[in-house]
């Protein structure tokens, strides 16, 4: 007794899954690629002398960006080797705080965000006392403003890592799903459920 209903169900569901997964990848790739057109990575470096807490500063006071929208990757490098002070980078855009983790000397931390409107947006170190000591600066975002010389356009703009990782999972899923589809639609496959239900050997 061939279980035709089970086979058709699984075949249909499997085919739908394959089509869904196949359509997933092309929809992810252009979406990620579009954002990279206006993206720039901004690198900030901290240099400070913590012995008297007077010489704390970001090495970039003003960063001119534009036109909007602009994608900013701030990589904070703590070069404050004279102490064990930790620093971070904090900014507030449209009511949302963006901050890097606390970065000990010699380490790096990063944060990414979109700036969708023009204006002046301050950034600072959120450790108490550091902002007063001078660890602050500002993004100046204009529609006509070009990327300032202080912003180093380096690094990998395209987030192809994630596209590739999603591709790996999708390909493994396709292989797994197709294995079962081909197995059940094969003429060598017999449905043994009725046999097992009757308890036959």
């Amino acid at each position: 007794m061939r279980g035709s209903r089970y086979s058709t169900l699984s075949r249909t569901a499997g085919l739908l899954m394959v089509f869904f997964l196949a359509s997933l990848i092309p929809s992810v790739a252009p979406a990620a690629a579009d954002h990279t057109l206006a993206s720039i990575e901004v690198f900030l470096t901290i240099v400070g002398n913590s012995t008297d807490a007077d010489n704390l500063f970001f090495d970039k006071k003003v960063i001119i960006l534009g036109p909007t929208p602009v994608f900013v990757n701030v990589t904070l490098i703590n070069l404050d080797f004279t102490s064990t002070l930790q620093h971070n980078f904090t900014t507030r855009l449209a009511g949302v705080f963006y901050t890097t983790p606390l970065v000990p000397p010699g380490e790096t931390g990063w944060v990414e965000f979109w700036i969708n409107q023009t204006g002046t947006f301050p950034y600072w170190c959120a450790i108490p006392g550091h902002r007063i000591a001078g660890m602050e600066g500002a993004f100046v975002v204009t529609d006509t403003g070009a990327i300032s010389g202080e912003a180093a356009p380096q690094g990998i703009a395209l987030r192809a890592y994630w596209i590739g990782l999603i591709g790996i999972f999708a390909m493994v899923a396709v292989i797994l799903v197709s294995y079962f589809i081909i197995k059940y639609e094969s003429r060598h496959h017999t449905d043994q459920r009725e046999h097992r239900r009757r308890g036959l050997p």
């Binding site: 085919l15 394959v18 990998i156 192809a160 591709g167 197709s178 589809i181 081909i182 094969s186």
Partner: protein, 91 residues
């Protein structure tokens, strides 16, 4: 010297063909990622990951092709009878 004992035509499943097409798309995608990464100077760890997964997909593709588009044949090699030379033993 050989003889086909049993042969069976391949199923030529449409699903298998479809999956082969999809896997081909994935292979081209990962190959493109490797080439793009080489041009962009990505780290070898990522490039080797993309290249490795490309070969995994290629293996699955070739296996699908072998199972569904090549005939299932059993070949038996017909051996000649062994010739034993006469010789004298312990005379």
């Amino acid at each position: 010297m050989t003889e086909i004992v049993r042969t069976e035509a391949p199923s030529e499943s449409v699903t298998a063909l479809l999956v082969i097409y999809i896997l081909t798309f994935f292979l081209l995608f990962f190959a493109g990622l490797v080439v793009f990464g080489l041009i962009q100077g990505w780290s070898p760890a990522w490039l080797s990951l993309w290249m490795g997964i490309m070969f995994v997909g290629l293996g699955a593709l070739i296996d699908l092709y072998r199972r569904n588009f090549l005939p299932d044949e059993m070949l038996v090699k017909v051996r000649l009878p062994k010739v034993v030379q006469r010789r004298k033993l312990r005379e």
